[in-house]
């Protein structure tokens, strides 16, 4: 277990170093920092001085090391567009994105697993078939169209929910939350559904196909022969054994929820890091882009690491296989 964990941690580190290299290259090769910092009237001596001051005269590995050093400390320089430290801007906006992603993830998992089990058990029922057909449309429907559709239905036609923004937020010092006010909760509903729907359909389809696979196996027949109730067979015996692939895919999907939040945040003008990133791309604001890239890859790597560990803890068969292959 420990050897496996160390190996995975090492791989994660390599991923981060590669992404760091990409972010670093963005700083270095897209546009000239000397150009953006010095005005029109500059002398050769000015350029030399700034070059030494910024460390641009150092060899590439040294520069990269310095970049990593300041990145680890959360220092990504100053946004070209907003003129403020990038780390501060991101820290202000991160809570909005995390709250949205969290609620969407919970919605996706709860409804995804429940509907997946339901459609697998009532395989040929009309309700299950309807859900399956709808899910096919859900997979093909781009996220932003779902958002627009929901806005049209619930904000424009019915007027029940707000169509943009985060509502009133409560400042907890370092975290501004929308969970504590009524308008904040109301504003959360449509974006969370928009963001979670795609993931929900994916989880649902996966749970369904895994359940169907498992329900065919002998031990389920034995469990039935023993006279166990349906409920026990489905949930204690079958669902438990579908969990390994479900957890893997769900874990990966959690990562992409944060990325897909970019789209949802733009549709609903949700003041999170995704909206920040899109505006950074539009105005070629390199420091913000690089910082967002690093932030999101750290999140992805952590999520993947946890998923791998869970995977290992849940399925004893894998443990035997992995250690076996490691010893070879």
């Amino acid at each position: 277990m420990l050897a496996f964990a160390i190996r995975r941690a090492f791989q994660s580190l390599i991923v981060l170093l590669v992404v760091g290299l990409v972010a670093f290259s963005m700083f270095n090769f897209v546009g000239d920092p000397i150009d953006s910092m010095l005005g029109q009237e500059r002398t050769g001596a000015d350029i030399e001085r700034l070059r030494t001051q910024l460390g641009l005269d150092q060899p590439f590995p040294v520069q990269y090391y310095r970049f990593l050093e300041s990145a680890v400390q959360g220092n990504f320089g100053i946004s070209y567009r907003l003129g403020r430290p990038v780390s501060k801007i991101i820290a202000e906006r991160l809570p909005a994105t995390l709250e949205l992603a969290m609620v969407s993830a919970v919605l996706a998992i709860v409804f995804g697993v429940a509907l997946g089990v339901f459609t697998a058990i009532r395989r040929n029922g009309w309700a299950a078939n309807t859900v399956m057909t709808l899910s096919l449309i859900g997979v093909s429907l781009p996220t932003f169209l779902i958002g627009i559709l929901l806005i049209y239905l619930f904000a424009v036609e019915l007027g029940w929910l707000p169509s943009f923004g985060r509502g009133d937020v409560v400042d907890l010092g370092w975290w501004r939350t929308g969970f504590l006010t009524q308008s904040g909760l109301k504003a959360l509903v449509l974006p969370a559904i928009t963001l979670g729907l795609y993931q929900m359909t994916l989880i649902m389809r996966l749970v369904r196909s895994e359940m169907l696979e498992v329900l065919r196996q002998d031990y389920i027949r034995f469990a039935r022969a023993r006279g166990l109730r349906d409920r026990s067979v489905y949930f204690r015996h079958a669902l438990k054994n579908t969990l390994v692939p479900v957890i893997t895919v769900t874990g990966m999907q959690l990562g992409s929820i944060i990325a897909f939040a970019i789209i949802t945040e733009t549709v609903f003008q949700w003041p999170g890091v995704g909206l920040l990133f899109i505006n950074a791309i539009r105005f070629v604001d390199i420091p913000v882009m690089a910082a967002y890239l690093m932030l999101i890859s750290v999140m992805f790597v952590i999520i993947n690491f946890i998923v791998d560990m869970l995977y290992f803890a849940i399925d004893p068969r894998l443990r035997v296989d992995r250690t076996g292959s490691a010893q070879k």
């Binding site: 169209l145 169509s163 791309i281």
Partner: protein, 330 residues
């Protein structure tokens, strides 16, 4: 046999005098094709037939847009601002002109803008998939056949990229490429940048599948025979292995096309894709979203429905193709 079939396609067009003979051969080829498993399962699947017809209709509409479109939305001379905000199927209050699907704020016919917008969407989609396919298949062949440290590096890059959702990769590449292009050329270059960004975000699937298939093919006798004949690695990869790994590539290409169309629409909708001077379906939806609250629903609805029909039909075709060509990919 393949030469014969090729000849038949050209015959009727080039020599009209021999129509009966050529027609004969054509019918024979047709009956042979119609008897194949492929066509048989196509005809058996109503979903595949309907999606094929929908996709074909949309592609034809886009390609032949200059013929079908009642107006050219990019020719300012044909526009009349008085026609702005006409409702669908109703005569305009000022000019009395009727537009099937209404007009937008500048009096552009929505039906025509959709046809022209679809051209951009489909062009970007096809070009991006072609780019991703060439890149992915090449790298996959090399990684599978040559292997060694080159293969390891290629697959490592693929793994790292796969950690991130494609749309994010595409956005990032778009942003970086935008930084490289000079300010005055950004709008012109946007389409090409978009193709490269989406293409680079989708090559991994091709590379992984081709690598796996290549490693299987590599051990077979015909490859050993070719090697003993003294063929070089490049020749073996292209002439011998490539034709045998094309089945799954075709499936992935179809599914990637749907993904690329949606990715393009998403990027353009977010304002980091096709410029307003060359609006794709995504750009049209973005423009339409601005009129959601003021009641001009047609500017938003029709482009959205078109995009949905396009994505759904290509997706369903891809699903069907996967089931027919390679049941293992399920």
């Amino acid at each position: 046999m393949s030469q014969e079939t090729k000849g038949q396609n050209h015959q009727p067009a080039t020599s009209p005098g021999e129509t009966s003979q050529a027609g004969n051969r054509l019918t024979r080829a047709w009956s042979r094709a119609a008897g194949s498993d492929f066509i048989w399962s196509f005809k058996r699947s109503p979903v595949a037939v309907v999606s094929f017809l929908v996709a074909l209709g949309l592609v034809l509409g886009a390609v032949l847009a200059p013929l079908f479109a009642p107006h050219n939305p990019f020719d300012p001379a044909t526009l009349n601002l008085m026609n702005g905000f006409s409702s669908p199927m109703q005569p305009n209050a000022f000019t009395g002109e009727v537009f099937w699907l209404g007009t937008d704020d500048q009096g552009r016919d929505v039906f025509s803008t959709i046809l022209y917008g679809m051209r951009i969407s489909l062009f970007v989609g096809f070009a991006a998939v072609a780019f991703a396919m060439v890149l992915g298949v090449t790298l996959g062949l090399i990684a599978g056949y040559v292997g060694g440290w080159i293969g390891a590096v290629i697959m490592r890059i693929a793994d790292v990229q796969l950690t991130f959702p494609g749309i994010l990769v595409a956005m990032l590449i778009f942003g970086i490429a935008k930084g490289f292009t000079p300010l005055e050329q950004r709008d012109e270059m946007a389409i090409w940048v978009l193709i490269i960004a989406i293409g680079l975000s989708e090559w991994v699937q091709f590379a992984r599948v081709v690598r796996g298939a290549t490693m299987v093919e590599k051990g077979k006798e015909y490859v050993q025979a070719a090697r003993l004949n003294g063929r070089g690695a490049g020749g073996i990869m292209i002439r011998h292995i490539l034709p045998n790994v094309l089945g799954p590539v075709l499936v992935i290409a179809t599914i990637s096309l749907a993904l690329a169309i949606i990715a393009e629409a998403t990027l353009s909708f977010l304002g980091v894709g096709a410029p307003p001077t060359q609006p794709s379906l995504g750009t049209l939806i973005r423009i339409g979203q601005g009129y959601l609250f003021s009641g001009e629903w047609w500017i938003l609805l029709f482009p959205s429905v078109t995009l949905l029909a396009l994505a759904l039909s290509v997706n369903l075709l891809g699903d069907w193709l996967r089931d027919v060509l390679n049941p293992r990919l399920r």
